[in-house]
Symmetry: C2
Subunit: 254 residues, 2 copies
Amino acid sequence: MTIIAVFNQKGGVGKTTTSLNLIAALARGGLDPLAIDLDPQAHLSIIGDVPVASGSDSMFGFYAESRALSDLVRKFTIGGNIIPSHMELSKVDALHGKGLKSVMRLKNAIHEEMLEQEGAPIVIDCCPMLNVLSLNAIFASGKVLVPISADFLSVRGAIQLESTLKALEHVVKRRIERRYVVTRYDTRRRMSHEIVAQLRERFGAELCNSHISENVSLAESPACNKDVFTHAPHSQGAKDYDALMTELAATGFI
Amino acid sequence: MTIIAVFNQKGGVGKTTTSLNLIAALARGGLDPLAIDLDPQAHLSIIGDVPVASGSDSMFGFYAESRALSDLVRKFTIGGNIIPSHMELSKVDALHGKGLKSVMRLKNAIHEEMLEQEGAPIVIDCCPMLNVLSLNAIFASGKVLVPISADFLSVRGAIQLESTLKALEHVVKRRIERRYVVTRYDTRRRMSHEIVAQLRERFGAELCNSHISENVSLAESPACNKDVFTHAPHSQGAKDYDALMTELAATGFI
Ligand SMILES: Nc1ncnc2c1ncn2[C@@H]1O[C@H](COP(=O)(O)OP(=O)(O)OP(=O)(O)O)[C@@H](O)[C@H]1O
Ligand SMILES: Nc1ncnc2c1ncn2[C@@H]1O[C@H](COP(=O)(O)OP(=O)(O)OP(=O)(O)O)[C@@H](O)[C@H]1O
Ligand SMILES: [Mg+2]
Ligand SMILES: [Mg+2]
């Protein structure tokens, strides 16, 4: 019964790269993952080359037209299935505001449609903003994976997010489990090491031991509509996401 | 009479890094730049360590309380001055919607308050979303500088932006000048070279000849609340932003 929201309000820190390769790793591990693309810029859907004729056939159809999530599920070439995004999803914030009812919609729908199944983990890719969509993801999941690129502003974003999550826990009166994972880690940079040390002190066991290295294969695979295991199975990027997958499974996060 | 919006709807491509170092280069060149931070995450303001007591003393005060822009100008330790951002600015989209009146507010205020002065170029740092705030920046500026990191999704974002700008030109019935600049360029990666070739074909002379190299000094300087010229004057990052500054000035963009 695993639902994970991949979120950090900083842009370009590897949310989509992490969602992509985690889904691929889960599928290769024999599971049947469901990706939910909650970024109106639809990068995960674009990488998977999911043909979306109109907003109605995406998560926008769920929010604006109350379509059933199960009707929106599509095959995901990367592995498992996906409910794609569409740029119309950017209207949802304006439509729905931030009331408690609107941030619980995804959680309730997943529950009512019994989308959560054993062996079928759900991974939600979010946009770089703590808006209605991302709040939907966080409340639906109860587990947040926070990619942090090894730089000053991304670390700040993570620390801000930590206090936001604590505040949200008071609202929902339950623990929101989280893991922080360093991405774009360049072992030759002193900055990378300093940042990991800072994060270790701050987040302790919530900071994954696995880091994702800066690796060109991770940047290339989306251009070929592939995950890194398919595009460059022997690359450092593939090894790192495999190690992350193993660690998250071993520690019961997935 | 230079107003430049630094925008790309992709996250983490170097908008803030470019705004920061362009402002520093302009100040070092003897000009008196004005930075406007239009990202509710206020990264530029954070890097400049601008103390902002409340939303009222930021661009939020302009949008929500109709405060005069001139009343909000502060000294910017990086160079020149800044009108800072504050996280309350994220409310503006909800408050104001996307009507023509609301996207012209910044343009009109700059004009009425005669903020635009010879020798005092304005540089507007935007958030990674084509929302009311970014539209304000684009319409206020008439000149858009688009950082493109050397990867698939950032290039897609630039191509999407190009068609958006063409559509906006129809609305405002005038040319929106633009320059595209490749950032995080890694000359050892074949992908970097392929991307530059694609962009050159697509954008021709609108693609800057200068690229900004992937350089650790550019990632480090924000952590020290500095621009790259102050933090690491002999670094490749400093050379590259200096070259970009020179090229933009020589081609009349600045
Ligand atoms: N470990 C890595 N090594 C090399 N390139 C990477 C790595 N992680 C991410 N990238 C590249 O960095 C860019 C940003 O990554 P990505 O799009 O996954 O971030 P994001 O957080 O989803 O961004 P956004 O905030 O725009 O949604 C992409 O081009 C991606 O290919
Ligand atoms: N040329 C470069 N070399 C090394 N690091 C860079 C370079 N350009 C940007 N960075 C780093 O990449 C990260 C993202 O850059 P930056 O914050 O400027 O992007 P952005 O487009 O403003 O992001 P956002 O969409 O979140 O506003 C920062 O940590 C920055 O220090
Ligand atoms: Mg993304
Ligand atoms: Mg920025």
